[in-house]
Every structure is written in structure tokens, then in C-alpha cells.
């Protein structure tokens, strides 16, 4: 049912400060086609979509819609030209009705003077769209009463009411159950019949086989493959997603592994983490792989007491620890370097000194008074040791680079001399040079007898830095690999949902 080309993106390049997000990428779309885009996190999928949606302006390259060259005019212009994006976080107003959401900002009115909303017209129009695409939702229902799956359908209906010919779906099934996925696929098939084209972004490769016509693989901002889905195997897709050899970027030393430091048993947190058990030894770097949304961050937040756990036993240095709040974990010698450093790791309006000492003021104060002079010495020595590039320790953190900010978050725990360091995506958004420095710091900590947990979505990082790797999927640990016993394909296939891959990838 696919026809002629409705969209051609040619030679698209986009650079952000320090990162080449896209390099000379071609992508096209026929009418009535589902053309999937896959790639690791950071491969450039969302940048490509945002360029199409008019969020970013491409540095180079052309966008042709139905044979016409399109200049950059922002998001509104692209919507008017028939391109709608359904983002992972839905943009709906929960307390308005389905119809109101669909017509938000374009409500039909009864009369030019009095401008009352023409409810009948609005509801009829919505019903028409719903019927045409065989969707069963009451236009008058409040959006907050609908499940996620139906809310997504409301977004799709909104796109259709705008007469979109191209709908981009960014990870549409990430939050759906199996049954809901089937319903979504039925809607997509209906859309295809009406000649609507879909750009389908997903981590779940098996879905692409079910619903996609063609697939394009992005890797490090470059297009590596565009192929008809029926001509390519999942195996080949995974290979082209990860295939790169950059071992030298990862300094890895042999550090003797010591006694057990941390033991986690049957850790559960409602809806995010299910029966997770593992241990960590002195000098060990334990990598935690998995996709975004696999529950890795939530799992370490449970361990740290930032989220309330439902059950689970945590033992540090052979002693059972009651972790209800972060201070409990900190007292037991655990430090967390969170994923979102600006939101969770730093008070960006305060200085390097203030941030670095945040976790140790209790140790360096007398009757509540802060021992500033002793702290000053400590902070200065750690700034030197960690090579934090800042004019003085009084510099406001906001003005420093990502790599240096990350080091300050690390310094906070380093000064406290923790036993266990939990890194959540320690190198995200940091350039290559900064990454190597962070790896060195992590290894130094391990050499001094600390235990390290490192969540990372960058497979090559996990594989090259870790002594042991846990793979999480859907809130569970689905596989454990020892160092050197795994390759990127193995880890990725478990991270994508283990059971399907079990037969495909025997050990």
C-alpha cells in the first residue's frame, strides 16, 4: 500500500557544542509507509525527528516535502505542512475532555461576536475521526480518566484532525502493555490504508518486524543502514547498531577484587523494580546495562533510600542496614552520583566549595558552626587531585563545563570517603576527553578499595569498564556477565527483552 515519496531528507547535519549529533544523514518516507528509525541512545534519532518537526534547524542538508524544499520556520509551520510528532511524554491537558484536547487552540465557535464554543460541532468532528480510524473513545471523556494507551490515541487523533500526512511516533509502546500494543498496531494499519505515513522510533526491534515496512539504523549520528524490513534480520540490525571498535578509549587496569562490600537481596519497589538481588565486592566495578526505562535508575534510588522500597534486605560490610532515607545510606558509606546532575546532583547557583562540601558539613562542624578553614584546604586539594578546572573554589558551578560539574558531584562523595559509589550515567553529555578522566577517577576509587556500581546506556562503556555486568529489563535483572564473557550484541539482546533472544544467543 505504499506510494510515492512524500518526504526526503538529504544530507542532514547538525552539530551541538562539542558533539556532532548528525552527520550527512539521508532519510525518506513514502506515503502510507511505516519507516522505522533505530539506534542506541545518543545515536541521533531524536535530533533527526526534531529537525523534521522544526524544533532544530539543520546545519546542512535539505528537507523536501512532496517535492518542495522546506525552509526552517519553526514547529508551527511544520504542523501546518502536515507533520505531527507524538512525543514520549504526551502533551495533553488532563482535566479537559478528549475533544477539547484535540481542538485545543482551534475550538470551533458558534458565532463570531459572542464566541461561544460550538460543542456539537467539536464532538461530531472528533467522532468522525474516531470512526474513520476505528478508534473507540468517547470525545466527552476527561483525558485524566483514560489510560496511557488511550491518551496516546488522543494524540494520534489530534494529529489526524490537523490533517497530518506524516506522524512521528517516538517510542510509542514504551509504556503500553501487550494488548494495548496490538490495538496501537491496528490503528497504525488503518492509518496506512488512509495513506498516512509513519516514522516509527523504537528500541523494541521485534515490533519493527511486525509493523515496519523499512528500517533505518543510526549510529553515532550517521546513517549506517536503510533496508526493507523483510530483507534484514534482527541480528543484522543489532550488529549495525553497535558495530564499532573503540576499546582504546577505555583505560582499564587489573584491580584485585576483595571482600564482599554490599549485598542486596530481593529488592522490590512497586512498578519499577522486582526482586533484584546482587552483590558488590571491594575493588569491583559492577556495570548495570539496560535500556532507558528498564528500572536501573529507580533500582539504585531504592537502594539509596531516595525512593521508598516495598521490601528487600541491604547488607553493607556484613551488617544489615535499614535504609529508609538517603541519610541512612550515606551513613552506611554509600554515595550516589545521579544521572541528572543539574537537577539532582548540584545546586548550580552555589560555588564549587559549597557543592563539594554539601555532604560533609556534618563531619566538619562544631556546635553547628562550619569549620571553613579546614574545609577550604580539603576542597582545594580535591580540586587539584581531580583536575577540576575552575578559577577558584568560589566559582559558581553553573559556569563550569559538564565534565567539571560531574567531577564536583563526585568530589562531594570522594571527600566523604565512601565505601560504595553508585554512578548513574556518569559520562552522559561529556566529551571524549572528559570521559576518559571520569573513567580514571572511577578506577582510582576502585583501586583504593571502594566498590563501584555504574549504570550506563553506552554499551561499549559498560563492557570496557566493568568487571561484571548486570543487565536489567522491565525492572528485573535478566542476565549477569563476567568481564570478557559478553559482547555488545549479547548485552543488547538481553536489554531488549531476554526471552526472545535466549535461543538466538546461546552462551
Amino acid at each position: 500500500m505504499t506510494g510515492e515519496y512524500i518526504l526526503k531528507m538529504v544530507g542532514i547535519s547538525k552539530e551541538f557544542p562539542g558533539v556532532k549529533a548528525l552527520e550527512n544523514v539521508d532519510y525518506d518516507l513514502k506515503s502510507g509507509e511505516v519507516h522505522a528509525i533505530v539506534g542506541e541512545n545518543g545515536a541521533g534519532k531524536s535530533t533527526l525527528v526534531k529537525i523534521l518537526a522544526g524544533v532544530f534547524r539543520a546545519d546542512k542538508g535539505q528537507i523536501r516535502l512532496k517535492g518542495v524544499n522546506i525552509d526552517f520556520q519553526g514547529t508551527r509551520a511544520m504542523i501546518e505542512r502536515g507533520v505531527s510528532v507524538i512525543y514520549q511524554e504526551l502533551n495533553l491537558v488532563p482535566y479537559l475532555s478528549v475533544a477539547e484536547n484535540i481542538f485545543l487552540g482551534r475550538e470551533p465557535i458558534k458565532n463570531k461576536c459572542i464566541r461561544l464554543i460550538n460543542w456539537d460541532k467539536m464532538h461530531t468532528k472528533v467522532s468522525e475521526i474516531m470512526q474513520l480510524f476505528d478508534i473507540d473513545i468517547n470525545p466527552e471523556a476527561r483525558v485524566s480518566t483514560l489510560g496511557i494507551a488511550h491518551q496516546q490515541v488522543v494524540e494520534i487523533a489530534k494529529a489526524l484532525s490537523l490533517q497530518s500526512e506524516i506522524i512521528v511516533m517516538d517510542e510509542p509502546t514504551a509504556t503500553l502493555t501487550g494488548n494495548e500494543v496490538d490495538k496501537l498496531f491496528n490503528i497504525i494499519r488503518n492509518l496506512k490504508k488512509q495513506g498516512v505515513s509513519i516514522i516509527y522510533i523504537s528500541h523494541r526491534l521485534e515490533e519493527i518486524g511486525q509493523i515496519g515496512d523499512r528500517v533505518t539504523v543510526l549510529r553515532d549520528g550517521k546513517k549506517v543502514l536503510t533496508e526493507d524490513v523483510k530483507n534484514v534480520t534482527t541480528d543484522e540490525i543489532i550488529k549495525s547498531m553497535v558495530g564499532r571498535e573503540i576499546g582504546s578509549k577505555y583505560p582499564k587496569e587489573d584491580i584485585p577484587i576483595g571482600d564482599e562490600l554490599l549485598k542486596v537481596e530481593h529488592l522490590c519497589g512497586k512498578g519499577v523494580c522486582e526482586d533484584v538481588s546482587f552483590n558488590l565486592r571491594r575493588g569491583e566495578i559492577l556495570g548495570i546495562a539496560g535500556l532507558v526505562g528498564a528500572g536501573r535508575t529507580e533500582m539504585v534510588q531504592l537502594l539509596f533510600g531516595y525512593r521508598k522500597k516495598d521490601s528487600g534486605r541491604i547488607t553493607v560490610n556484613g551488617k544489615y542496614i535499614r535504609v529508609g532515607k538517603p541519610p541512612d545510606a550515606v551513613r552506611a558509606g554509600i554515595g550516589l552520583i545521579p544521572e541528572e546532575r543539574r537537577n539532582h546532583g548540584l545546586v548550580v547557583e552555589l560555588s564549587v566549595f559549597e557543592n563539594a562540601t554539601l555532604s560533609i558539613l556534618d563531619r566538619f562542624s562544631f556546635l553547628g558552626f562550619v569549620k571553613r578553614r579546614r574545609l577550604d584546604k580539603l576542597v582545594n586539594s580535591v580540586v587539584d587531585k581531580m583536575k577540576i578546572k575552575t578559577p577558584t573554589s568560589r566559582q559558581i558551578v553553573k559556569n563550569l563545563s559538564g565534565g567539571n560539574q560531574q567531577k564536583i558531584v563526585l568530589a562531594k562523595w570522594f571527600l566523604r570517603n565512601c565505601d560504595i559509589y553508585i554512578f548513574d550515567e556518569p559520562t552522559r553529555g561529556i566529551d571524549v576527553g572528559g570521559k576518559i578522566e571520569i573513567y580514571r577517577l572511577i578506577e582510582n576509587l576502585a583501586r583504593n578499595g571502594a566498590g563501584i556500581m555504574m549504570i550506563s546506556s553506552e554499551l561499549s562503556e559498560v563492557l570496557n569498564i566493568s568487571d561484571r555486568i548486570l543487565v536489567m529489563y522491565n525492572g528485573k535483572i535478566v542476565r549477569e556477565f563476567n568481564r570478557g564473557k559478553a559482547n555488545q550484541e549479547d548485552v543488547l539482546s538481553y536489554a531488549l527483552g531476554a526471552d526472545r533472544s535466549l535461543t538466538q544467543y546461546p552462551e
Binding site: V330, N343, H344, V347, E349, T357, L358, S359, F369, V370
Partner: protein, 304 residues
Amino acid sequence: MNLGKYGIFIAFIAVVVILSIISPSFLTSRNLLNIVRQSSIHGVMAVGMTFVILTAGIDLSVGSVLALTGVLCASFEHSGLPVVLIVIATLGIGAFIGSVNGLIITKGKVTPFVVTLGMMSVARGLAHIYTNGQPISGFGDGFRYIGASDFLGVPVPIIIFVLTILIAAVILRDTRLGRYTYAIGGNEEAVRLSGINVDRFKITAYAISGLTAALGAIILTSRLNAGESIAGVGYELDVIASVVIGGTSLMGGRGSVWGTLIGALLIGTINNGMNLLTIPSYWQLVVKGSIIVGAALLDRLREE
């Protein structure tokens, strides 16, 4: 930020200059001392409010807490307690009411606005119930000393005000409580994830606000020679205005008690000037309200 600091200073000077031109009785040493003394009540309360606002909170209940602790303080005096104990007990009750605010805000996860708005009504109501609407008046010399006498030629309320500012400045600069107060207002989650008991320090901020409201009550009660349940109506306006005009951000994390000092003096000067110029009190409300909103607007502009 520097611009903001200077901005308030310039505004202060401008107001002083204008008033001394229009009103000859303004720039007399007696009147100036008067202004500082009048400012000391909303001034000490603004010091506590500074802690709360630095954590990105708000305390609307201070005026009512002043009334409640004021009438209690008056009846303590009548029961013959020694002055030291009166002061300690009153401050303790103020801090307790503040902690109740803080507890509900942190543990109950209710927004500060709603909790302290409720407390505003509760404390006022309790004050009326306790006194049955009648003032409790007539105190001994010991208690009267606090609000109505001089020490080395300086009115005692001014001395209390200055000491409060100094103590708060030291706390904010050199203690964990102070540093955490700034950090919590800057990024509460980062502080929580640093293993710090955020709730404890937020509750302390509200307790301090309650305590300084009680301190204001002691000064006012002693000065008026009466504890009245209608005292302090609308004081939250002067108090919050002092803090905001002083450059402390309502979004939390930025500001200082020195700014609050200037803010309090500016509010006191405006109050005094409008009285000298016999501007009706209804108009005074309009002017002060506009000043608060204007200061908050300036703060937003500064951020951009």
C-alpha cells in the same frame, strides 16, 4: 545580583531624600531613631521570614502568631513570672507554632502557602478565644524595659533588632543550618540526594520564623503595655515586603539578611513618611502592596 543590592540601596536613599525635602520634620534625629525603632518589630520578624523564603517557602501566619504569642506573653507577665522566663516561654511557643507549620509542610507535603494561611486563621482565632477579645494590659517595669526604654541612649528594641540581624547573619554564613538553607532553596533534590535530612532543616526555618514572630510580639506587647488579640493584623505584608525588597528571591536560594535589614528600614521609612505626609492609611496599603509586587517583578527581571 549586585545590581539588585545597589538597586535597593538607591531606592532607600531616594526615599530618604524625597521625604526630607517634602517634610521638614522627617530628617530630625528623633524621627530617624523613631523609624528604626518602629522598624524593629517587623524587622525582627523579617529576619525569620528570610530563612523561610530562602528555602523557597513562605510564612503567612507571622502576624497572627504575633497576636497569639503576644497575649500569652501578657498573661505570663500578669501571673508574675520573672521576665527571663516570660521571654523564654514566649519564644518557645512561637518556635513551636512555627515547627507545626514546618511539620505539616514537610511531612504532610502540603504547600507552605496553604499551611501558613490556615495557621494565620487558627492562631488569630486562638488569640481571640484566649482573651475573649479584651486586651491584657498594665505591666511591671521589668517587662516594660524591653519595649519602652533606652540602653545607653539607644532604644532597647533597636538593640534587639541589631542583635537578631547579627546572629542571623552568622547562622546563615557559618553554620550548617545556614548553608543548607541556601542549598535547599537552590536545589532541594540535590541536597536530599547528598544524604541531608532536608525536612529537619526546613522545619527549623519555619520554627525560626515562629520564634522571631514571638520576639516581635514581646517587643510590641511591652511597648504598648498591652497584649491584644487584634495586634499584628496585616503584619505579614510588611514582613514579606521587607524580605522581598531586600533582594531575597521568592524562588529561594538567593538573598541575605543584610538585604532584609535595608528592606525593613525602607518599609519603616515609607510607613513613617506616609504618616508625616498624612496620607490616609487606606492609601498606605495600596502603596505597600504595589511595592511588594514591584520588588518581585524586579527580581524576575534580574533573573533574566
